[in-house]
Symmetry: C2
Subunit: 188 residues, 2 copies
């Protein structure tokens, strides 16, 4: 039998690019097939539907990223080290695969309500990191939801700025600055 893994990979790559640049609804299966150099029908050998392609692309990668963040938490003992490593990971992810990062963290808000398990959610991982730091007295106590989103804003918005050409790449060069900003905001 023939090996379709290369085709699948090409579909992934082109789908991400088009979904991010044009939007999911604005990308037709015809567009996608043409960009990937395959026939329309071929896409349905690999995915049940356009929608399942979108969902698979989102959920699997979202889960993996959340698990990477979780692994970082376990690897570092205290809050400043965890924060620094987490932010570096965000920056590295953006620089390595900007389309995937944008798809997961900046554009696919519609998919978020379908994510069920909290452990597979990057936002949840960050909030848990903050709650843990508050319990240990490493940062000042206040609304964890607010603190998590302040922190998240300091990471995600620079990524947006980079997308719009308001900030020079790579994002990683600002990792240390962003980390310091987070620590100041959380009054460490």
């Amino acid at each position: 039998m023939r090996d379709g893994r290369a085709t699948r990979q090409k579909i992934h790559q082109e789908a991400l690019k088009q979904f991010v640049e044009k939007g999911v609804a604005e990308t037709t299966v015809r567009d996608l097939a043409h960009a990937a150099g395959i026939a329309e029908g071929t896409l349905y050998r690999h995915y049940e539907s356009k929608d399942s392609l979108v969902w698979d692309l989102f959920s699997s990668n979202y889960k993996v990223f959340a698990q990477q963040l979780t692994a970082i938490q376990k690897r570092h003992p205290n809050f400043p080290a965890r924060l620094s490593a987490t932010i570096s990971e965000f920056c590295r992810f953006f620089d390595d695969d900007p389309m995937l990062f944008r798809f997961l963290m900046l554009t696919q808000h519609q998919a978020l309500p379908r994510v069920e398990n909290d452990d597979d959610n990057p936002v949840e991982v960050i909030q848990k990191m903050i709650v843990s730091a508050m319990k240990r007295g490493e940062i000042a106590k206040r609304s964890p939801g607010l603190a998590a989103n302040l922190l998240l804003g300091l990471v995600l918005q620079p990524a947006v700025g980079l997308v719009y050409g308001r900030i020079k790449p790579p994002l990683s060069q600002y990792a240390e600055t962003i980390t310091q900003a987070c620590l100041r905001v959380l009054k460490v």
Copy 2:
């Protein structure tokens, strides 16, 4: 002649709600007409196309918001006062008309490339406020693009958190906290 202004207002209101909750592409003209209590054809008495409705809704309101922010800059002499008033304005806007705020600042990224005049762009207004403060020595000098986006992240991401139910409304109650966070980040 008959007065269509009430109809136009109803279209605005329902369109915003559906565009934000479902997405622009996922909202059909039929949906819209039904929600607004009018026939499909009536929508075309007021707008050339669905697309022109989206663009009109975005550009006119985007412009007005940018001008309100500009007015605030002129009203306050120094950076801390400007920042505080600007952030309060963001929060008030979100609390007053969450659908419009979300449409302009959180979901309609696709429309941004079409905005031409810099003066009618909220992001640009904030960046200019920062550049001005750097020149006066009110805050530490560094990349204005990065600084503007760090600040913006501290305002927009809490709004996102509120949308997802991770933060309790109203947003205005956090205005002071967010302002303080901005000042810390900018090392005032």
